[in-house]
Every structure is written in C-alpha cells, then in structure tokens.
Amino acid sequence: MLDAIKAADVPEPDGTVVDRAVVRLAGDSGDGIQVVGGQFTLATALAGNDLATFPDFPAEIRAPVGTTFGVSAYQIQFGSDRVMTAGDAVDVLVAMNPAALKVNLPEVRRGGLVVVDADSFAEKGLAKAGYAANPLSDGSLDGYRVVAVDMSSQTARAVADTGVSHKEALRCKNLWALGLVCWLYGRDREPTRAWIRAKFAKTPAIAAANLAALDAGHAYGETVELHEDLRGVSVPPARLPAGDYRTVTGTEALAWGLMFGAQLAGLGMTFCSYPITPASQLLHTLARQKRFGVVTFQAEDEIAAACAAIGASFAGSLGVTSSSGPGIALKTEAIGLAVATELPLVVVNAQRGGPSTGLPTKTEQSDLYQAVFGRNADSPLPVLAARSPGDCFDVAVEAVRIATTFMTPVLLLTDGYLANASEPWRLPDLETYAPFPVRFETEAEGFRPFRRDPGTLARVWARPGTPGLEHRIGGIERDYDTGDISYDPANHQRMTDARAGKIEGIADHIAPQSVDQGEATGRLAVVGWGSTYGPISRAVAELRREGAAVSHIHLRHIWPLPANLAGLLEGFEQVLVPEMNNGQLVTLLRARYLVPARGLNKVTGRPFKVSELAAAFRAALEDTP
C-alpha cells in the first residue's frame, strides 16, 4: 500500500491544526456521494465547526456509469471561524473513479490530497473517462499528494462476513470513503452509525455491511502506517454565537420561513408549483408538511400554478408559487393580474443558468431584470433576495409580511446554490418575531374592495364566504373609489400612481440598509445581493485585514431599494457590484442614484471564488479614480 502514496513536491502547510479545510467527494451518480457528503456535514457540524456545503449534481439523471457527465460531487468547507462558502480550492479530493478525478482535479489546490479508488483505474474505466493514459502513473498528478487505495477490494473484504452480495458490497464503498475522511479530520462516526441503523432497519445485513465499510475506511487511516502527509488534521471548533444549531439547506429554511410567515399572518398556505430544477425541492419539502396545514398542489404547468396560487389568495389563503427562470417567464402574465387586483402572493424563483434551458443544474443570478422589470405595463412589485441558506428563513418571513401587509405579489429570489447548499443554522427563537396578523374585512357597511389603508396604501382583503362583502374584481382597470371597471383616463393615471406609490412606500416599512462589514464611508463599497454573500464577505474581510477601506453592503431588498441606500453609496469613492450575471443590479443602482457603479460579472454557472473577488477588489483600489 505504502508505495501507492506519492509525496508531492509542494509542501503541506505546517502543523496538523488548520483554520479551515475543503473536502470534495466525487464519484458516479450511483455511488451515493450526496449521502455520505450529508453525513460528513452532520458529523462536522456536531464537532462544532462552522461550515458551508455545495452539492454539484450532474445534469443527467444517471448517465452511463463511469462517464464524466455522470459525475456527482459534494463539497464542504469547514473551519474554526465563519466559513460562508464551500471553498475556492479543494484540500482533499476523494475520487471514486477516473471520471470523478478528471472532472474534479482542476478544483484541487496544488499540493492538495487526492484519494482515489485504484481498483477503478483499469483500462475500461480510464477509457470511459476519456483518459488516454493512466493519470496515476503518467505524471499528471505531479504536484498533488496522491493516495491510490484499492477501495473496492478493501470494501469487499471488510463486508465479506455480513452476507451481502458482491454488488451490495460494492455499494458500501461510499461509506468506506467516509470512514477514511472521518479519520482524517477526527470526526465522530456515531451519528452516521445511527443513521445507517435507522435507514437499513429492515435489512440488517445491508446495515451491517455499511457499518463495516465505515469502520474499515476509518481503520485504514488509523492503522495503516501512512505517509506522514496523510496524518490526521484537526480543525478546532468555531466560535459561533451561542444557541442551538442544526444544518439547513436553503430549501428547507425557505419552506420553513414560508410556513412560519403564514403562521405569523394567521393564514393557511396554498403552495402551487410545477417541478423544475432547482426549484422542485421546495415543492417536495412542503408536500411533507400537510400536518401543519400546508396544502400543496402540483399543477399542470407554471401558469396554472401561479393562477391557482392567486385564486387561493383571492379565497383568503396565502398563495405561494415557485419555479426557476423559464417557469417564472410563463407566470409573468398571471403575476400582472395579482399586481392589478392587489392580491398577496409570494413567487419564489430559484435561479439557474440561462438563457432558455441553459444550465439547469448550475447557479446564476440572472433573473433580477425579470423580477424587477419582466412584466407588461407598469407593474411594480417588491423583490427580495436571500443571501445564504439560513437567511432564506428570514427572507421568506419578510416576503410573507410584505405580501400580506401591502396586498401585493412579492418576488423572492434564491438560486441553485442556495437551494442545495447547507450551513449551520442557529434555531431562531420564534417568540421574538412580531406577528403580523391579517385583518380580513368583515364590515359590510360602506364596503369598497379597493378602499386603501392610508398608511400602507394596501387595499382591504375581503374573503369569499363573508356575508355582505360580495364583490367582483378582475384585470380590467378598476375605479379608484368603487373598484368597478373604469376606462376613465384620469382614473387610470390615479391607479397607476397608487400602485407605484404603494410599492415605493414599502421602503419606509423595511429596515434601513446596513453595512455588513466596514465603515459607512470609504474608498470602495462592494454592493452585492443573493448568494454572492459568502464569497464577497470573505473577500472583503481579507482586504480589510490588509487595511483597505473597503465595505460590504449586501441587499436583501432589491425593490424598492432601502431609503438610505442613496446616502450610503455617496459616501464611497467607488462602488463595485459583483454579480453572477452580466450586470443587472448595477443597472438598477446607476439608474436610480446616478452613481458610477461598476459591475464585476461572472457567468460560468459557478459561485465566485473568494480569491477572484479579492483580486478584483484590489485591482479596483489600485485603479484610483
């Protein structure tokens, strides 16, 4: 075995204690990578590290075994201070086959550790991955530390006594790899053991095999006298704020935030959707919450989903619909009706790479234009964006608050990264959230369906079933006073102004924009939104450590923009707007404030790296205006 380990010529950083580490597990989509990734995340969270994860799914459901386009990967960064991104460069890559190595090697930092299943590097596997020569022996791994271990055989041997078939045995390879990685970072295997026992409760032989594989992988690390570079690494616990924690994906936090929002509003929730990557999981998550009163409806298409949600709102429920860009495009006509009839609605867009079908499994932020401007006519509505998996919870609550307080559809932007990524989430104290109960209209005397609250300009919400409030609404322009159809020119102007004024007025009912890091004035303001929060935050921190006068402003409210933002931006010599699109928020800021904000754009389907942002910020600072 020992000779399989090649020392790299790039030295490993001193010591066995590090601040943070990035591990990437990769294999065939059938290899169970996501499952062991999740288990390792849990063990890491329980060890007290901060962490961020990102699953990288193949675009194909289950492509032919061993092909590069069938590779599934799971990346986690964990550390002893705030982590926020899944990491720029991988410290440890576990590649279960040649294709996984091929696809993921570019992510590994020079000098990083590469663990491969040597058994899979036979001719057939190499050919499928498109390797002309064996990378384990042709020098292409020079510069990395490589552990080529006969993982399949080891696993097969380890589970031999459990009585499972050979095929079943090989299915345990992922647990073997997990065992090794657990050993590497000193992770407790007990939570994984408990999970295996629960999951395979009905098939004890399989449970035993998986347990055996897990232990064998661990034992391999522990007992085999490995090259000294493979010695265990320790990442001390992070100093997180006190509280109870769990890991959440953005999808879970979003689902729960919507439910909690409905609870704070005192409403039932009717969630109507049509599957689309990467939005489907929200449907899946909420479909399991029937016992809390959540109704889910899988409609025949996105249009029907949006319309059903609006119908539900008309009937007095909280209508919610979700999709990704192409599906949101289909909903825009219906959203216009919700704008016109001033009904609450939450529209979730889990953005993905485009245009058109684009890169469905990759992340992007390119639907901001669509969210803010993408409807016919003057149809303003509030747009919110979540910054991190955990933040999805609070943004969802805020979306429900705004939708119901202002009687308006709200667009909530997440993305493929947020939908799938996970991080530790401090369980909120639900008591600290102020409820915002909906007051349905009940008074028949003098009832007018478009009577507005003078403070919020929201119209009343009169729910069918209420005696005396029978009324008819629709998409034809309505009289400001009576709500009846009106083609009157002056009335149209008045209603257009009222709709615009109501949405603009929301700026007075939201928290002022804060500066996330740094002073309120300075040389460079980096203004971000959405899931770029993690990398921007890390990069700004890096520059601030270097002494640069850089601040990070991260918007939750894309529309209307916070009232104090104009003043804030004036305080900086330069404004830079990193986005995973071709420059969209930057257009909004320039148009609104006439600030010479510049875009920093990346459209690769992948999150920003901290290093590329830091470099861009440094360049901007050098480039004195």
Partner: protein, 349 residues
C-alpha cells in the same frame, strides 16, 4: 339493461329563507354590456333563476372566468366574482377550491377561452374532478376580439383571420371533455330556458367537475350558426333531448329513436312506425355509460344533436375534498419549533 338514476350527490342548502329570493336578487348594479340580442343574456337569466330556485347564498358563491364576452359574466352576478386572464380560469378556480372547499365555485368560459388558449387547464380540471361547475358558452367564434374563428368554428368559416375560410378541423367540446376524463358532461342552448335551468341544477348537484356546453348565439359575428339544428322548422328532427332512464326518442311527437346498429358500435336513427320504443329496440339513455355519451356527443347532422345530461358518473370524491376535505383549511398551525428541531441539533454555549 336496467338503468338506475344516479342520485344527485350535493344537496341544495336547506336553510330558513325569510322570503324566497327572486332572480333579480342575484343581479348586480353593473350595466350589462353585451350586444343587444346576444345569447349571453339568456344564459344569465337562466343562471339567476337557478340561484333563486335553489335559494343559493351569494356570499358562499364565487364566479370565476377568463377573458371573452362570455367571461364578463361574473360582473353580473351578485356573488363573489373573479374575472381573471385568458384561458386560465380553471386554474384559478382550482386554487379557490383548495383554499376553501366550502365555496360553491362556478366557472364561465368561451370556446376560445376554454378550448383554445385554455384547453389544457380545462382538461386537467376535468381529470382531477375539482368540484366546479364549468359553463362553456360556445358561439363558435371569438366574440370579444371581433370575430376571428375559434377551435369550434366549422371548416370554411370566413372571418377576418380566415378571409377565404378556416382550414382547421374543429374540436367538439363535449368530446374533448369526455376524452379528458370528465365525469359530468351536459349540453344545452342559450334560449332553451327550461332545459338549461334543469341542466344547470343537475350540474350544481354533481360533486366534482360538471361540464356544461351551452350553444350561444353571437348575434354580431356568428349569427344563426346553430340554425342547422335550432331553427324552428328543423328543431324537432335535429335535436334530441336525452333523459336518464328514458328511451332516446326525437322527431315530431317522438316518432323517431336511436338504437345501436346491430353488430356494431354505432347509433342509428329509426322510425318507430307505431311500435313502442322497446319494440323498436330504442336505446334507453343511461347517463352513467361513458361510451353511449361519446356516441351521443359525436352525433352531428343528419343525426340529431344531443342535448341534456349526456354523462354523469358520481360517486368519486372531488379533488379538493381529497386534498383538503370539506371545510376551509385552518391557518398554518402546530409547533414549528419542533419541526425545525426534527433533525440533529447541537448546542453552542
């Protein structure tokens, strides 16, 4: 073959009414804006009569529609109403029922709204069997947009968008509904008030989606398009009013009837010639027989056009009842903290 009349499975509300309402009590203060002579007026009248006869409460009723002349209907009913967007009314109606199954939801659509842009939503509402009454006003034309041909227009219809006559083969609304899995399919005519009122009552009594195609005259853009079977002279021979459990008779004094062409799967018209219907082998209408309904729905001149309840297959729970039950769902309740703690939780001191 014995035929059992299917029981109406939704009772009319049984409440003490101080004074019997009149159809006028269901009218709104809005001026009705259809062209003078439009068939829509007659349908409005029939619906208001149904409401008055059944003493239906306005506040528990919602009329939902798409866009079109027909879709203006909700403005004229003193109930709750939602005039939505073109073709999507079935989806709105489904959302309303899921939010509050206790509401009595009526949907009004046209041949354009319901079968052109909205055909898919119609199909899915029907197959799901959402508890709705769907009234499709078929005037074989796009009225509101000034008279283009529609999916039910016959081949050769000359309109501004088909100046030399349309080339598209039309669909049959009732056949589309049956093909989609509808469990209640009926047909009526705007100006046949009595049968129309009856059919509408049957539709309301049915739990699930009841689909009613109403032939409606567009006096401006398609006047007299149904004269082929509605005109005074031909009516008796060209229409057959079907009734569950009764022999399928038509013609002057019921002198003709329909029977299964021996050895085949087709209907044919025969003269009774003084024989009793039984003797003449006349088919008895069984509204629970889907195949018979298909044959009836497919009849075109020279066969008589079938009117009345062609198909009614109750006994299946409606979609909204399956999903949420009968009452309006409560607010999101329960201990969400417990849900959030359902995974592995750890404590940072």
């Amino acid at each position: 073959m014995t035929v059992m009349p299917p029981p109406p499975d939704r009772p009319s509300p049984d409440r003490p009414s101080p004074a019997r309402p009149s159809p006028k009590d269901y009218a709104t203060d809005q001026e009705v804006r259809w062209c003078p002579g439009c068939g829509d007026y007659a349908i409005l009248k029939a619906v208001q009569k149904v409401f008055a006869d059944l003493e239906l409460p306005t506040h528990e009723t919602v009329f939902v529609s798409g866009i079109g002349c027909s879709s203006r209907f909700p403005y004229y009913m003193a109930t709750y109403g939602f005039h939505t967007i073109h073709g999507r009314a079935p989806a709105f109606a489904t959302g309303i029922k899921l939010a509050n199954p206790a509401l009595d939801v009526w949907m009004v659509t046209g041949d354009g709204d319901g079968l052109s842009i909205g055909g898919n939503h119609l199909m899915h509402a029907l197959r799901r069997n959402v508890d709705l009454q769907i009234l499709l006003f078929n005037n074989e034309i796009y009225g509101l947009t000034k008279g283009q041909y529609s999916p039910t227009s016959r081949v050769g219809t000359r309109t501004p968008s088909s100046p030399t006559g349309s080339l598209d083969a039309p669909v049959s609304a009732a056949q589309v509904a049956l093909g989609s899995g509808a469990r209640f399919v009926a047909r009526s005519v705007d100006v046949q008030q009595k049968p129309l009122v009856e059919v509408l009552k049957r539709a309301r009594a049915f739990r699930g989606t009841s689909f009613v195609e109403i032939f409606q005259n567009c006096i401006v853009f398609n006047d007299g398009v149904f004269d082929g079977f509605l005109a005074r002279g031909v009516a008796a021979e060209a229409q057959i009013h079907v009734e569950h459990g009764k022999p399928l008779l038509f013609g002057d004094k019921g002198a003709k009837g329909l029977r299964v062409r021996p050895g085949s799967l087709a209907l044919e018209a025969v003269e009774l010639d003084g024989r009793s219907p039984e003797e003449a082998g006349i088919l008895v209408h069984d509204e629970t027989d889907r195949m018979a309904a298909m044959l009836l729905a497919a009849m075109e001149p020279p066969m008589p056009v079938a009117l009345g309840v062609l198909y009614c297959a109750p006994g299946q729970q409606s979609y909204d009842a399956l999903v949420v039950g009968e009452a309006r769902p409560q607010a999101v309740t329960g201990d969400l903290s417990a849900l959030f703690r359902s995974g592995e939780v750890w404590t940072v001191e």
